[in-house]
C-alpha cells in the first residue's frame, strides 16, 4: 500500500469529476498526506479476520413481489433539469454500450 503513482486526474475521470489544474495539484498533495497516514493499517495482521459491514447480523430482508402504485410521476419529472415530453432529455448519445 502506497500513495506512489497516485494519478489524481485518472481517479477523477473514474469519478466523473472535472478537476482544474490547481484543484488537481492541491488534491494530489492533500490526498498524498492522507494516504500516507493510512499506511499505519499495514502494521496490523488481519489474516483470518472477517470484515465488518453492519454491526448487526440481520439477513434476508426481503419484500414480497406485490406492486405498489408509484406516487405521482409529475413530482419526479418536474425535478428533471431538462425533459422532452415524458422523458428525461440528454445530449444525443452516439454509441450504445
Amino acid at each position: 500500500m502506497s500513495s506512489e503513482g497516485f494519478d489524481v486526474q485518472y481517479v477523477a475521470r473514474l469519478a466523473h469529476l472535472e478537476l482544474g489544474k490547481d484543484e488537481a495539484s492541491r488534491f494530489s498533495g492533500q490526498l498524498g498526506d492522507i494516504l500516507k497516514y493510512m499506511e499505519k493499517l499495514r502494521q496490523l495482521d488481519v489474516d483470518g479476520v472477517e470484515p465488518t459491514m453492519h454491526g448487526h447480523g440481520r439477513t434476508n430482508a426481503f419484500r414480497e413481489d406485490v406492486p405498489v402504485q408509484s406516487v405521482d410521476q409529475d413530482l419526479f419529472l418536474s425535478n428533471a433539469p431538462e425533459r422532452t415530453g415524458d422523458e428525461y432529455r440528454l445530449p444525443k448519445i452516439v454509441e450504445d454500450a
Partner: protein
Amino acid sequence: MKYIATIGLETHVQLKTRTKMFCSCLLRTGDEPNTNVCPVCMGYPGALPVMNRQAVKFTVMAGMALGCDIPRRSAFDRKNYFYPDMAKDYQISQNGAPLCIGGGVEIALPDGSPKFVRINHIHLEEDAAKINHYARHSGIDFNRGGTPLMEIVGEPDLSSADETIAYLEALKELLVYVGVSDCNLEEGNMRSDVNISVRPEGQSALGTKVEIKNMNTFKGIHAAIEYEVARQIDLLNHGGAVVQETRRWDGELGETQSMRGKENAHDYRYFPEPDLVPVELDEETIAEWRAEVPELPRARRARMMSEYGLPEYDAGVIAADKACADFFEKAARAAAPVPGKTVSNWFMTEVLRLVGEGGGDISSCALAPEALAELLRLLDAGTINGPTAKELLPELFEKGGMPKAIVDARGLGQVSDASALQSLVDAAVAANPKSVADFKAGKKAAAGFFVGQVMKASKGKADPKLVGRLVAETLSKL
C-alpha cells in the same frame, strides 16, 4: 491452417416478476414513459433498495434446473460505472457471492451426440432503463429500470455458432419451462454478450478474445459469431493480431464493429452493497423452492415414453412445451383405458392444429384436458364414431363444455343396431341397381359407394365398421 473457435456467453435474462428487483414498482411494457417509477428506481437521494424475494427465488429455481450448487450464503455488491440508463450510476449486482454456482446444460451436436456446456455461476442484478435515440437528443424512460436480471455466465465450452444457438435454445426452453422468464427475444428478455477467440489447431493456449455486446436474436448471434470467427481467422492468416476489445454487431451491414474510443478503462470498483444484508437460505427454504422446480423436458420426455407408451417423437414434441405437456398428461390420465398413443395422436394432429389456427396457446383455449379425455373415451367405447368426434372437437375448443352432455343432448350417439342398419343397407341396394350391377361385374369399389349411402342415410351416426360388414355380407349374398 485450421483454427478452433472458443465461444463463451454471458446471458442476461429478465425475470418474470410482477415488480422490480429492489422496489415495488409495477413491471409492465407499453405504459407511458416514466410512470412506473419511485425514489428507489429513480436513484433519488436517500432511497434504499429492498430485495424482491420472488426474484431471488426465481434465480435459485433456475439454478436448480441447471444443476447449479446453491450456496447457503449470498450477497450483493455495487458495480460502479456512470451511464444515464443506470439511475444510481452504480448497478447492484453480485460479484463475490452469487446465488448459484456451477451447473450446465446438455445440447445435441449435429451428429446427435450430446455435449455438456458448463455454467460458471448465475448472479442476480438490476436491469438498466431504456434510452431512446432521436435526431438531436436522447431521452430516458425509467419504467424498465430495475427489472430483475439474472446473468448466466457460461464457460467458454462452445466452438461454433450452431452450438451457441443450441445452447441458447436449451437455456430458453428450460427457463420458460421453470416459469422464471418468458425469454421473449423481441422484448429483450434474453440478451447475450458473446466472447469469441480463435486459435490454431494444436495450440492449447486460447487466442485473444473479443466481446460482442448485448445481442437479442438468435439469428443475429449466429451471424455475428460466423462473421467474427471468420474475421479473426482472416486476420491471423494474414499475419495480423486480434485486439482484445468490445465490438458491436451491425445487423444491417452484417458485420461486427470495434467500439474503440468508448470509455475503455473499465474499473468497476466493486464493493459489498452496504444497503443490503446478505441472503441466507436455510435447508427448509431450499427444499421448498426445489419442490417448485417442475420436472424438466428431458426427464419428462423419457417418463412420458414409458408411462404412456409414446414414441420418442411424440414425447419430444409434447414435452418441449410445459403447458402442452401438462395438458397432455392430464388428458392421458383421464382418458384411461384409452391408450396414450391415441391421446397423443389426437392431441398432436387435431388439438395442436386448432391451437395453431387460433394463434393462441394451449393454456388459453376453452378445451379442458378432461373434455378431450371424455371425447376419446366415447370414441373408444363406440358411443360416437370418428367423424362425430372430429366434428365435436372444434366446438369444444372454442366454447368449452363436456362432450358426453353434447352427444346426449343432440342424439349424436353412434347407431350400432345391426337390424336398423341392415334395413338402411337393403334400402340402398334396392335404390341403386346400377351399382349392384357394377359390383357384380367385378368393381369391388362399388361397396364403398353403398357404405357412403348408408352413412349419409344415418346422418353420419352409423358405426362405419359395422356398416362395412353389413354391406359386404349383403352384396355377397346377391
